[in-house]
């Protein structure tokens, strides 16, 4: 199957682009897709653990099955509004 992967925030810098088409196996899950992305960047474990994933613009679970044509967005912790969180 082919899915469109969208990168936001720090991930966009890391992957050097906003989106890409990705070829995955027939029964791939969100977790499988994350493993592919994660494989490209050793270290940065904290980042991968903190991500949320949206499939077709809804928050998804890591075990969710993907299907051909899905739009999968990798979302770092969000920082809209103004103030920084207190450390």
């Amino acid at each position: 199957m082919r899915v469109r992967v969208l990168y936001f925030g720090v991930l966009k810098d890391l992957f050097g682009g906003e989106s890409e088409m990705m070829e995955l196996g027939q029964s791939a899950s969100v977790e499988d897709l994350l493993a592919v992305c994660r494989g490209r960047f050793a270290g940065r474990d904290g980042l991968w653990e903190s991500l949320a994933v949206a499939v077709n613009q809804e928050y998804a679970r890591r075990g969710d099955a993907l299907k051909d044509g899905d739009e999968v967005a990798l979302l770092p912790p969000v920082s809209g509004g103004v103030e920084r969180p207190v450390a």
Binding site: E31, Y59, G63, P77, V78, R84
Partner: protein
């Protein structure tokens, strides 16, 4: 309800004026503006970006939830994207209600929840470099959805 994501200046005063109706006893406004520093570093500007369609959808959900949850009459929720300089409004929350308690509560809940769940990010440009702001951890109901090894399937 008025829910928007905009690339231009948020006309805060005009939006607040439009929200007022005869049945309201209170209008509570949160006007989030760009501060001139972050942890001691001098801020030049902030660049906001969003997963736009999803962010708008999430904001619409929050506005509707606020009306249901707090019993307020009306909500305006507006977020600006792109480059903002010190003093400019990045997010505006307006809640109109018969009573002030509900208006305050709904306003606080809206900004706090928006900051944790709506897919918007900001890059802080300082005099001496730029950095993506650390976001707050996703709330449990979203984080749990993203836990590795969770084998639950979508319906």
């Amino acid at each position: 309800m008025r829910v928007e994501i905009t690339d231009t200046v948020i006309a805060a005063e005009a939006i607040v004026a439009e929200m007022k109706a005869g049945v309201d006893g209170a209008v509570c406004v949160f006007d989030g503006i760009v501060r001139d520093n972050s942890r001691g570093r001098q801020t030049l500007h902030l660049d906001y970006e969003a997963y736009r369609e999803m962010a708008l959808q999430q904001m619409c959900g929050l506005a509707a939830d606020a009306v249901t949850k707090f019993g307020v009459r009306d909500v305006a929720l507006v977020h600006r994207l792109g480059r903002l300089v010190v003093g400019e409004t990045s997010v505006l929350v307006v809640v109109a209600s018969a009573h002030r308690g509900a208006a305050f509560d709904a306003c606080r809940w809206l900004i706090d929840t928006l900051k944790k769940t709506v897919p918007i990010w900001k890059k802080e440009q300082f005099v001496d470099g730029a950095v993506w702001a650390d976001g707050e951890p996703f709330p449990a109901e979203i984080a749990a959805r993203s836990t590795a090894g969770d084998s639950e399937r979508r319906g």
